[in-house]
Symmetry: C2
Subunit: 227 residues, 2 copies
């Protein structure tokens, strides 16, 4: 197998990328937006930290519960497939054949595959789960771990843009430093993300940075308009 060539980002990396992408973007954009509307850095910091708490819990706990739901869904579908393999044997043989008919195998060979597969009901169910329903068996420990990584990445990503407001007197000064710091972080993070997920480096970095910049500009424009 050429696993090295077909680079697949691990799920941990994916979780880190998910949390960090949004963490560097949304609290930064919110702080930028408020900087155009209020003149107290402490309000910007308070709002920023409240957003980080809310966002990290929504993403982390949300991710955890999504993982739990995925496990429950997989288990219930697996029970159904077991039941079908036992009680609707010929229907299931037909469904197995249909999977291979799609790839142009002869009826004779389809039949042979289905009959041989049927000799091992446990593996047959595994096969149907993956290839009929497109479901991978979820890792039971992943739900906890995923929640934790996404939540922590969001907090780290979110704190960075706020640090500028701790050390400046006015929100507009904070905005300038926050923007510089965050744009640099977005470019660096975008490069790392592109490298880890096997995308073209420059294009990937530009995409990540653009989302942060546009979100911040929109938040600033809206807050300025109504303040």
């Amino acid at each position: 197998m050429n696993q090295e060539q077909h680079f697949q980002s691990s799920e941990k990396v994916r979780d880190f990328v998910i949390g960090m992408s949004d963490g560097l973007t949304v609290p930064f954009a919110l702080a930028a937006g408020l900087s155009g509307a209020v003149d107290s850095t402490s309000i910007v910091i308070t709002a920023g930290l409240a957003e980080i708490a809310a966002g990290s819990i929504a993403m982390g706990l949300g991710g955890y519960l999504a993982g739990r739901t995925e496990i429950e869904h997989y288990n219930s579908e697996e029970r159904r497939e077991h039941d079908e393999v036992e009680n609707k044997h010929e229907v299931e043989i037909q469904e197995t054949k249909e999977i291979f008919a799609e790839y142009g195998l002869s009826d004779d060979l389809q039949e042979k595959i289905a009959r041989e597969m049927a000799k091992n009901p446990k593996k047959w169910v595994d096969f149907m789960m993956r290839f009929e329903l497109g479901l991978e068996r979820p890792d039971k420990n992943r739900a906890h771990q995923s929640a934790f990584i996404i939540g922590i990445s969001y907090v780290i990503g979110g704190i960075i843009p706020l640090t500028a407001y701790f050390f400046t007197d006015t929100t507009m000064q904070g905005l300038i430093y926050s923007t510089i710091i965050t744009l640099i972080c977005l470019v660096v993070f975008g490069l790392i993300k592109s490298k880890l997920t096997g995308q073209p480096l420059f294009k990937g970095a530009m995409r990540v940075t653009m989302v942060g910049a546009i979100a911040a500009a929109a938040a600033f424009a809206i807050a300025k308009a109504i303040a």
Copy 2:
């Protein structure tokens, strides 16, 4: 095929659920957090709208770019597989056999499948994309549509909790009405989400509501502590 029984939520529904879940949770929690720290409803509304702008763009545009990246990734892997089928024919035959070895098929049958599959290189590549790499061909129009649905759902979900602050004089009054309105919406949305995705109704609704409530409580506690 028993597609009716194996309920698979459509991608549009999934996008709506993603946008609405976070939209009902994060701006609500941010507004709740600020209500404990500032006494101006207009600051809460400004921050809430800035968050909605930032969050909907981060999620919508982020979702759009993720979709684009997925298409590019699929196309590049597909080119690689085409190349392997042509230039590393026997390696690819071996990889095809390994897929079936995992499900306990005999070496003889593995060989027959791989050789027959190899007669139609285009379908063979399709097969390897799905069965070796686990990649489904992404729909080119999905990236736009997905971005739009997620972004709009986030805006709708986010506006609901803020409405309370438009009609109240103090942030604490706003917080009370906002909490009541949002908890009701979270329960109703949780029930709809559970129904659409085939989860147990009560459990699903409680999970959605719990994330919103915990996020809001955490944001409130943090904002109160530093204000």
